[in-house]
């Protein structure tokens, strides 16, 4: 008896719609990803306010101080206390001086945790004032409710 060899056909699913969808998802996430969030800190949850609006232009010569709930201050990835913050601020002021600007030109952005003690925030402001910094921005989350 003659045996007829049958070729087994491979059943291939059509991948086109799936690839389309995946590319659309990638495009969606790429557009929405926001690398400028590097200014944020995981230890800080900002308070809300209905009055603030996102600034139209970024502040000049910003010095971002994160104040955690326990009162510790994070500046440029280094954690300070209110007493040792002067060292970190001096480094920032040296950078500003290298650009031939005065401390008064710098903007101190204070990103304090909503449950931090107000006195700790005031201490940080006082230390910054002693370094001749004058302009402060108290950063809060926009409340649209």
């Amino acid at each position: 008896m003659k045996v007829v060899s049958k070729k087994v056909e491979m059943v291939e699913g059509d991948m086109t719609p799936m690839i389309d969808m995946v590319f659309q998802l990638i495009a969606f996430f790429m557009v929405l990803i926001n690398f400028s969030q590097s200014e944020a800190n995981d230890r800080v949850v900002l308070p809300n306010s209905q009055l603030v609006k996102p600034p139209e232009a970024p502040l000049e010569f910003p010095i971002v101080l994160h104040i955690a709930q326990d009162g510790s201050v994070i500046l440029g990835g280094t954690t300070y206390t209110a007493e040792t913050l002067k060292l970190g601020l001096n480094q920032e002021l040296n950078v500003i001086a290298a650009e031939k600007k005065k401390p008064q030109d710098a903007n101190v952005i204070i990103r304090a945790h909503k449950d931090a003690a107000a006195g700790d925030v005031q201490e940080v402001i006082r230390v910054a004032q002693e370094q001749k910094l004058e302009k402060f921005a108290l950063r809060v989350k926009e409340d649209r409710s």
Partner: protein, 159 residues
């Protein structure tokens, strides 16, 4: 001449496996790093270090005194504006400020206009300070913001 039937030309198919692998890796990366952007804004405060000079001060230039007291847990216990007790109601604070500054619009820039000095207990939660600043800074009417006081400063921290 015998013509041989040629078989159907073999389909040239691209191997998609590696591309799909990479695409899925990209997708996972973007999904994991995705964060919903929270809009943030600033309350601008210009606050140079107070000079020790003691001179005659015009009474009209004295700032409004806002006193915020806290309980042992850091919650707001009382609000007082120029020694007038307002309970813990920020709406009452806003109404008081509207009554005090009336139709006075804050001047252009940081010059001119009334000023408020916030004096808080050390352990008061920062959230309440922001609520107080919001109440004295203005209020919203629809989409419009009515500004009240733009000059804000802090008293010396209380230990």
């Amino acid at each position: 001449m015998k013509i041989r039937k040629r078989g159907e030309p073999a389909k040239q198919e691209l191997n998609m496996t590696s591309m799909i692998d990479v695409v899925f890796l990209l997708l996972i990366f973007f999904v994991m790093t995705f964060k919903i952007v929270e809009m943030e804004g600033d309350f601008s405060v210009k606050m140079p270090l107070a000079s020790d000079k003691s001179g005659a001060v015009d009474d009209t230039e004295l700032p409004l005194k806002l006193r915020l007291r806290a309980d042992d847990n850091g919650r707001l216990a009382s609000i007082a504006m120029n020694e007038v007790q307002l309970g813990t109601d920020f709406d009452a604070l806003r109404n008081t400020v509207v009554g005090l500054v009336g139709g006075t619009q804050p001047g252009e820039g940081s010059e001119g206009g009334p000023e408020v000095e916030i004096d808080t207990d050390y352990n008061l939660r920062y959230e309440y300070v922001i609520n107080a600043i919001t109440a004295v800074s203005g209020y919203k009417v629809g989409d419009e913001t009515v500004k009240l006081i733009e000059k804000i400063k802090f008293a010396k921290p209380r230990r």
